[in-house]
Subunit: 151 residues, 2 copies
DNA sequence: TGATCGGAGATCATTATAGTCTCCGACCAT
DNA sequence: ATGGTCGGAGACTATAATGATCTCCGATCA
């Protein structure tokens, strides 16, 4: 059903929270730790930890160890696209399996497959959609959406 | 990864095939049976059968029983949208679980959820994308098919 | 130096998916 | 009318993906 995973959900929530804390008036620049987010949004602590680790690995947030440690945005909210967030958690986003079959991958249907090309276009459109929306757009409550239906 | 299921893949292939047979020059109006499609595209017969049954149930194709039976498009190719095909197979397409929680459904994160609104907008955009592409659009430019005219 | 933080790996449970098997009823030709 | 060919439908199994948990480690700062 074109569903995104819970982990991706958690990633979005966490990033939104971090961005809000950092860019807000109250405590700008404050680091946010895993526990705080987990409690705020009822997310299993250790699962969220993994999500945040993945985000840190892909360079979207930076981690600070030790007491008073936690996470900070590594980029400005306007530079963090939804596409990048999702890819950090779920790997390259592909609508269909064959879209990323590079080397020895075999698709039983491939030889007579009649839907590969159109599906790749759909996938590309969705990717552009997610690339045109950033974390900043999610903060204001009026996200910017651009549909590019490449027929 | 926003992946669509294999069943949905099969549905698209099958519909594309049926549409091509029906609207093509060779054997216009010919009914297509499950076995023919399964063999052409290397799809497990019984799984494909279920897919086609679902498509028939949702009114995209009409079935004909008995010998010389099979399937026909119930609508013109231009009226069959990708969105409708996917929904026939996978149910209402929702990017996130909470998007369709209607009555008693509870989302642990819901009370403080900060991403619901923007996600719903993304979802809506994707839906529009898939609604603007029809089976007819998928017919252009793909190579195929040689069918043996059965006696 | 010890309590608090993130990093990383293994592990388990649950669910969704893919695929199979079996039986039924409709149809058409002979 | 009857048997072979078709779709309709349900139960069923296997496998993979996901969600979640547990444990141990290293970094850091008071």
């Amino acid at each position: 059903m074109l569903k995104i995973s819970k982990k991706a959900d958690y990633a979005l929530m966490a990033l939104q929270h971090i961005a809000q804390v950092q860019t807000g008036d109250v405590t700008p620049g404050r680091v946010v730790n895993t526990k705080e987010i987990a409690e705020e949004y009822n997310i299993p602590l250790e699962l969220l930890a993994k999500v945040l680790q993945a985000l840190a690995k892909s360079g979207l947030i930076e981690s600070h160890n030790g007491p008073k440690g936690g996470y900070l945005l590594a980029l400005s909210a306007g530079d963090i696209t939804i596409a990048r967030i999702l890819e950090s958690i779920e790997g390259p986003l592909s609508i269909t399996d064959c879209s990323h079959e590079q080397s020895g991958e075999t698709c039983m249907q491939r030889e007579h497959c009649n839907i590969r090309t159109p599906l790749l276009k759909v996938q590309d459109s969705i990717y552009q959609l997610l690339s045109n929306m950033t974390l900043r757009d999610m903060l204001g409550g009026t996200p910017l959406i651009t549909i590019q239906s490449s027929t």
